[in-house]
Structure formats: C-alpha cells, structure tokens
C-alpha cells in the first residue's frame, strides 16, 4: 500500500502545492478531485504523473458533471479515472464502462458494504473502494474484496491524517492488516471526512499560513495537529 493524499485535504491548493505537502508528510500518492477546482484546473500545467520528490499523481476522481472533462485529462496524463457516483454503485459501474471505451483506465468507486456491490462488478472489471462510515465491517469486506477481480486498484480512506485518532473502533487497523497480507500495492488515499476539520488538515499538511497581514503561521498553532477522541 502507498499512503497518499486526496486534494480535498487542501481545497484551494494547486497540484504543485499538494505535491509539496505530500513530500513534507512522506506521502507518495496524490489523487486530484474534479470538485477541487484549483487543483483540477492546475493539472493543465502538469505534463507527467511524476510530480517530483517521489510523489506521483495516481488518480483523478470525477463526479458526474465533470467526467467527460476528467476523461480527457486522465487520458493525457495516463492516470486512472475514478468514477464517483456516491452510493449509486450501478451508475459508477456504467460510467466506468463508458470511460474505458474512451481509452482510460476507469475505476468505479464502490461505496457501502461489499455485499451490496460485489455482484455488480463483472469479472475482470477493475474497481476502486471507498472506506468510510457506511462500511460497517471494513476488515471483513477487505477479505472478500481482495479476492475479487484481483482486488481493488485504488482505495480511499475517508478520515486518516489528523483525524486518525477519531477512527478508533472502526476496524481500520484490522483492515490494513488484511490488505497488507493480501499484498495490496495500490494507493491508500486519505481525505477529510468533513469541512469542519479543515484547520486540522491545514496544520497537518504544514500549510497553516496566516490569517491576515503580518500574522504568523506559527501563532495559529492553537489547533492540535492530532484530533483526539476525547472531544478536546
């Protein structure tokens, strides 16, 4: 597994700024979402998935409205396109099929318990997996998913980063154990679960910045870099 970052962690950053943040945190993979306009638009200045300092653009995440445009960019950069249709997994599979015909590696992003969507994936169809609150038993799902069609090509972990301590009890540790033993070698993209944690993510990425003229980014260090589960 290669721990990586989703562009939602810093919604107003360019790809170059995101890649710097990745390098700073030792993250090797970057996913750019069409929802993060600054990052997605800045892909126009990117010629190669290799972003420097060991950081690689590993996928473009596209919602329905931007799939056509994202397909063009994904094809140019030769990176996989991840089709996000929320919990409409059937729509994601259908959209991936269309994008594949356009010459990109298209991965439907599967949401929710595996029982609900494994039957939707024809044999040999590659897919991406989102681990979030809607997945009740991610470790058990990881066992089944790893045996299906060669396992997921890409995994999104909602939470992680500075929210890691808040994920206690969800089985993330057991899930990563299953993935490690199965030899999962793809990206593991962490991304915020909510806008309310944006300050924590900014601090975690080392991009606190200032709040106005003359303010010191260091003085903004009142927010903890790690969110605790104790409500502090």
């Amino acid at each position: 597994m290669r721990l990586g970052l989703g562009s939602g962690a810093d919604p107003h950053a360019t790809v170059a700024e995101l890649a710097e943040s990745c390098a700073r945190r030792g993250l090797l993979a970057l996913e750019v979402s069409t929802s993060d306009v600054t990052a997605f638009d800045s892909l126009g200045h990117v010629d190669d998935a290799d972003l420097g300092e060991g950081v690689r653009l590993t996928s473009i995440l596209a919602d329905e409205a931007h799939t056509a445009l994202a397909t063009v960019v994904a094809r140019r950069l030769a990176v996989p396109l991840v089709l996000d249709r929320g919990h409409d997994n059937e729509a994601a599979v259908a959209a991936a099929s269309v994008a594949m015909a356009a010459g990109v590696t298209a991965l439907p992003l599967m949401h929710g318990p595996a029982d609900g969507w494994l039957p939707l994936l024809p044999a040999t169809v590659p897919f991406a997996w989102q681990v979030d609150d809607s997945v009740m038993d991610p470790a058990s799902d990881a066992e089944r998913i790893s045996r299906h069609n060669g396992g997921p090509v890409c995994i999104r972990l909602v939470g992680g980063g500075p929210e890691t301590a808040l994920q206690d009890g969800r089985g993330i540790g057991a899930t990563l154990r299953v993935l490690a033993l199965a030899g999962y070698a793809g990206p593991l993209i962490v991304t915020p679960s909510s806008h309310r944690y944006r300050v924590a993510w900014a601090g975690w990425l080392g991009r606190r910045g200032g709040w106005g003229c003359g303010s010191s980014g260091d003085r903004a260090a009142s927010a903890p870099l790690t969110l605790t589960g104790t409500g502090q």
């Binding site: 721990l3 945190r25 890691t164 057991a174 990563l176 030899g183």
Partner: protein, 78 residues
C-alpha cells in the same frame, strides 16, 4: 504462495489499533515470510516489544530511516 510485498503503513491507524495490527500481521506470517512496516518515526519501542514478546523468532531490517518515513522489514524466522 504470494510473492508480492506485504506493506503495512500504520500512519492512518488509530493509536489503540496500531500495535495489534502490527503483531497480528506478524503472527499471520509463515516462517520465512516478512512484511514491511511503514511509519513516520523510528519504531524503536516496537522493536523492544518484539524482543521481549517474540525473542528469537523475528528479523528486523531497516529499509528506510527517515527523515520523513521509516520502513522496516519484519520477518518471521521461526
């Protein structure tokens, strides 16, 4: 038998689940097999825990030693 590297990056694992994930991964290995532990600091205390709880049955080889990422290949020898 899989020849793919087993990589366990513990950075996104919550504190209480981290060591159980590491030791459960280790215990799932067959003798001769290994996994790579990835973390954002030198896992020295973990090594001491291995030495007390799994003495003589593990191998520990640093593949990367910072400054940002540490990677250790932990193997099961017996």
């Amino acid at each position: 038998m899989s020849t793919t590297a087993r990589i366990l990056d513990v950075r996104p694992i919550p504190p209480r689940e981290k060591h159980p994930a590491i030791f459960d991964t280790f215990k799932s290995l067959e003798p001769g097999e290994a996994f790579v532990l990835v973390n954002d600091h030198d896992p020295k205390p973990l090594r001491f825990q291995f030495e007390y709880e799994h003495a003589g049955t593990f191998g520990w080889e640093y593949l990367e030693q910072g400054p940002t990422v540490w990677a250790v290949q932990i193997s099961r020898t017996l």
